[in-house]
């Protein structure tokens, strides 16, 4: 009984971590974006909302709770209401395996931890379909299709890149993956880290892949018809996913809770992990603040013609190089260095390939008729 109670409290505590973190993170991202746009963001001009308006998010949450929940006529009520619930549930469900610290700060250290993360993330697209379909709105349905195409497409390079740390550490258990990173995998296989990161950005629907919510194009995409807290649920789930993705990336490629003096003070591990996740999260925020939006065909082309083949190549190269290096029984540092070199070479090859293909595209796009403006700083545009 005592064990059950402790487990219950632990699970409850862990489930509340993303919620509490998000309150802070929403405020923080609004401040950062505001500064990048040369304005102030949430301040205390007006109603007081805590020091530096820290509790702005709480105030917004309370406001959104009291907004009327409008269900469009003809909509499928059950599915319509279920969609935001599913989105939030899935977002929180991933946290069952997140290792916040070296020992015990984890709900369950599943043997298949990494695969659990993958499996739970793959439940997200269907909630979008539910939202889009039940709204009985053409914009919402189109938005749902585009968002789903994007999300399921980018799952492939994401999982393929995730296989690289699994390969190198020989386990799906997240704690094991962390412990195998005497050198963070991001430094050993930077290409895999990069492809995982880019795929995650697309999975999250962050700019430049922000099709699902393209404000100026299809209103609000698949959640056009949602108002009040149901919209708030999508928004909340979006930020929770951002935070989760940052933490998962830190666990997989940045060494998780590893850092100086963790052996002496285990709690410091939590601090290191949160710090790394925070830095990754801010990279995502900067993407949001600074990048333009890609078109749906660009997004999908980038995935299937570049990122997926690249992640396949990365996995193949890493597997082969690592096996050959271990077969030659070299020192561990030489192994890491060898993998790093292989990754960098592959990255350079990918960039070269991109530039070749890109040049062909540019030449194809411009009509080869003299006199027509090409928009390029070309010398052959009359």
């Amino acid at each position: 009984m005592d064990v059950v109670l402790r487990t219950l409290l632990g699970a409850l505590g862990m489930a509340l971590v993303p919620l509490v973190a998000v309150v802070f993170l929403i405020w923080e991202s609004r401040k950062v974006i505001a500064r990048m746009q040369d304005r102030l963001g949430p301040t205390n001009a007006g109603t007081y909302a805590g020091p530096f308006a820290l509790f702005q998010t709480v105030a917004d949450g309370i406001k959104i709770l009291t907004k009327e929940l409008i269900i469009p006529q003809g909509a499928d009520r059950g599915v319509f209401i279920a969609a935001p619930i599913v989105v939030v549930t899935v977002a929180i469900a991933v946290w069952a395996v997140i290792p916040l610290g070296p020992s015990g700060l984890q709900v369950v250290d599943l043997d298949v931890g990494a695969f659990y993360v993958v499996a739970i993330s793959s439940l997200a697209p269907f909630s979008m379909i539910m939202a889009g379909w039940s709204s009985r709105n053409k914009y919402a349905e189109v938005g749902a299709f585009r968002a789903v195409s994007q999300i399921i497409g980018y799952e492939i390079p994401q999982v393929l890149s995730l296989l690289v740390p699994v390969l190198l550490s020989g386990s799906l258990r997240l704690q094991q993956i962390i412990q195998a990173q005497s050198v963070p995998f991001g430094a050993v296989v930077p290409l895999a880290a990069l492809t995982y990161f880019l795929a995650s950005v697309a999975e999250l629907g962050r700019l430049p892949f922000e099709l699902a919510e393209a404000d100026s194009e299809i209103v609000a995409g698949y959640f056009t018809e949602y108002s009040g807290m149901m919209f708030g649920a999508f928004y909340l789930a979006d930020f929770i996913n951002n935070f989760t993705a940052s933490i998962v990336f830190s666990v997989l490629f940045l060494g998780g809770w590893r850092g100086p003096w963790v052996d002496q003070v285990p709690l410091l591990g939590t601090f290191w992990l949160l710090l790394k996740a925070f830095m990754v999260f801010n990279v995502l925020v900067l993407f949001w603040a600074a990048m333009p939006r890609l078109r749906i065909d660009q997004v999908l082309a980038f995935n299937w013609k570049f990122l997926a083949p690249l992640s396949i190549a990365t996995l193949i190269v890493t597997a082969l190089v690592d096996k050959m290096l271990t077969a030659m029984a070299v020192e561990p540092w030489a192994r890491s260095a060898g993998l790093l070199v292989a990754n960098l070479l592959l990255g350079v090859a990918a960039l070269v390939f991109l530039s070749i293909v890109g040049r062909r595209f540019t030449r194809r796009d411009t009509l080869r008729r003299p006199g027509l403006p090409t928009g390029l700083p070309d010398s052959d545009a009359a």
Binding site: L65, A93, R136, V148
Partner: protein, 118 residues
Amino acid sequence: MVHPYAVVGLFLAIALVIGVVPIALAWLLSPKKLNPRKTQVYESGNPTFGEAWIEYKPQYYLYGLAYVVFGVEVALLFPWALAYDQLALFAVVEAVIFLLILGLGLAYVWRKGWLAWM
């Protein structure tokens, strides 16, 4: 010792509760003054016409299909990745062949221009 899967199930239940609570709270706290104008489906101010269906485009279905195809491949690679440490180079090459078959298939399709819609 609580069985790990039971804990996962418990956690999922908690996650579900967290999902439901805000909606339930909002339903309690929000006004309910519905009128026909509010519940109209949104179409930039114009009343909707026609049923909400969209044109058939094979593209959307094909993305799902591509996901399933590559998903099966990736799923089969998970056990291989776990056994990697104990495998000989030959075994790794076999898995590479596995990956290359599909990878080259993708390249072939790309060259043929069938990916043009992507």
